[in-house]
């Protein structure tokens, strides 16, 4: 099966350093994850807006063992859930602030989009600068 358009476009955004939020052209509301029809108004007229990339860290963890197949070499790695200021939320990887160190992160920290993960089709966030 070919990659659905909403997936390829979201990933193309990540690859170009942009975090895209699906936005409904009919009702104007943002949707995350991107949907095939707007969950608010059922319109299929859906576009994209660029996120400012700022938000708060709802929660996170550092996985140290038991990676899914294909992720073993990534260990340890940190996964988080970010609530974007635009009002949607998503799952991300968190950038370490030292060598394999995520100890400075706390829930409700201000975080920012740092780009696409090196090897993975997902966004990376880090603690907000300043």
């Amino acid at each position: 099966m070919t990659t659905p358009k909403i997936v390829s476009e979201f990933r193309a955004g990540l690859a170009s350093g942009e975090l895209l939020i699906q936005n409904c052209n009919a009702c104007g509301k943002p949707n995350m994850w991107p949907r095939y029809a707007c969950p608010h108004c059922q319109s299929e007229d859906l576009g994209w807006v660029s996120s400012a990339g700022k938000g708060t860290l709802h929660s996170f963890c550092v996985l140290r063992q038991g990676a899914p197949e294909g992720f073993e070499a990534d260990l340890p790695y940190a996964i988080g859930v970010v609530k974007l200021d635009e009002g949607v939320q998503l799952g991300v990887r968190l950038e370490p602030h030292g060598d394999e160190d995520w100890s400075a992160y706390q829930c409700d920290d201000r975080v920012e989009f740092a780009g696409k993960d090196d090897g993975r089709e997902c966004a990376v966030f880090r603690r907000a600068q300043g």
Partner: protein
């Protein structure tokens, strides 16, 4: 704000469904015990407990397994009907599936079937072989269940990561300490030490040992992660009329239920320290007239300690923020104010996949039938709150069960 739906059956009415029997075999690692063998054993145990034989059953509801697609196909295509010798007479055999909350939804299904007259005697069957399955295969499978492949699988998320994020958010929101969280596991172990069928029946556990165990997914230590196990259990539901005809004196009925599906993938949950429990509870109280003060025992899904602490707060057993401390204070212990997960729960009796919730439900029915071994039978147990959740804690399901005396 919850709507007010009443059950369309009066307590004690001819078509009021009642639980009349349970069956269970040991949970742990039993590589030589086959899937069908285990299902057959628990079916016969539950039927005997109900005073029935296979021919009495007209409908089988199947709880799925997660270890094998081939075994799943055997279930779906009615193998158990033939194994029990009721091919030709059995009316229907099919699967209900919502992950860890399946047993709650299977109860709703059985209840509706009996109330409406589609079924008379329903046998619910569960078996899982997680303990004997390949661990890496199961981890990979669980990185795809309740996780959208196109959006979140790329982060490398899996079940312990999900449990760890909920635990961290809960600890942050409530101010619970690592010791508080570990104490919940110790409470469960005390119950498992009274349950011969539990995986860790003979193994004590302390807070110190938990906190000294390896960090798996910060903040979860190895001994705070659910032990994957083989296990099987079953229960029988019939109508009040049938139960009376059979001379059954005491049974268990459903006083009401409530549920809330709050997300599909964890990243879309508005508050990981709350989940769907408050709305599920409100719905359950509206349907039954019960409140949190009415329970004699709690059997609440516990794949991670935080999951149970969050549920206790949402159900109103503990004040907001005090769920973990309520358990850590010993309130749910054997001999405590309100016994919690009296079989040892998923964390200490063993995580049998979809079956972990079924085992808690079966334990609740067993306690209400007053058929638990004396070492853990809760005295004069009349009412139980059963709590379940599936997938990435996508839903909160509450069943309110009560012991009922069936007049002649």
């Amino acid at each position: 704000m919850a709507e007010n739906w009443t059950l369309n059956v009066a307590p004690g009415a001819a078509n009021d469904p009642v639980f009349v029997g349970v069956g269970e075999i040991r949970t742990g690692k039993f590589p030589d015990r086959s899937f069908i063998e285990a299902l057959t054993k628990v079916a016969i145990l539950a039927l005997r407990d109900a005073g029935m034989v296979p021919r009495d059953i007209d409908t089988i509801l199947l709880i799925p397994n997660l270890h094998s697609a081939a075994d799943q196909a055997d279930l779906v295509f009615s193998r158990m009907v033939e194994e029990l010798g009721i091919h030709g007479s059995c009316k229907a055999s099919y699967m209900v599936h919502s992950g860890g909350s399946t047993s709650d939804n299977a109860v709703r299904a059985a209840h509706g079937l009996i109330t409406a007259g589609h079924a008379q005697n329903v046998l619910v069957l569960q078996c899982e072989r997680w303990g004997s399955a390949d661990l890496n295969e199961m981890i990979t499978m669980l990185s795809k269940n309740g996780i959208p492949g196109e959006w979140e699988l790329p982060t490398g998320i899996q079940f312990n990561a999900i449990g760890a994020m909920i635990t961290r958010r809960y600890m942050h929101a409530s101010g619970s300490t690592a010791e508080d969280m570990a104490s919940i596991c110790v409470t469960l172990r005390k119950w498992a030490n009274l349950n011969e069928n539990a995986m860790f029946y003979e193994k004590p556990l302390t807070v110190e040992r938990i906190l000294a165990s390896q960090m798996v997914a910060d903040p979860l230590h190895a001994f705070e992660c659910p032990p994957m196990a083989d296990g099987a259990c079953a229960f029988v539901v019939t109508s009040t009329e049938n139960a009376k005809k059979r001379g059954i004196g005491n049974a268990v009925r459903l006083a009401g239920s409530g549920g809330c599906v709050s997300h599909y993938c964890l990243s879309q949950e508005p508050d990981q320290a709350v989940l769907g429990w408050p709305l599920a509870a409100e719905r359950a109280w509206n349907q039954s007239g019960w409140g949190p003060q009415d329970a004699d025992i709690l059997e609440i899904y516990d794949s991670y300690a935080a999951v149970t602490a969050i549920a206790l707060e949402g159900i109103g057993i503990a004040p907001k923020g005090d769920g973990a401390r309520w358990i850590a204070a010993g309130n749910g212990d054997p001999g405590g104010k309100l016994p919690l997960n009296t079989n040892g729960g998923l964390l200490s009796a063993g995580h049998t996949g979809v079956g972990g919730g079924t085992a808690l439900l079966v334990e609740g029915i067993r306690q209400l039938l007053h058929r638990a071994p004396s070492s853990r039978q809760v005295e004069d147990c009349q009412r139980a709150i059963i709590g379940g959740t599936g997938g990435s804690y996508m839903d909160a399901q509450i069943l309110l069960l009560e012991r009922t005396k069936l007049g002649a």
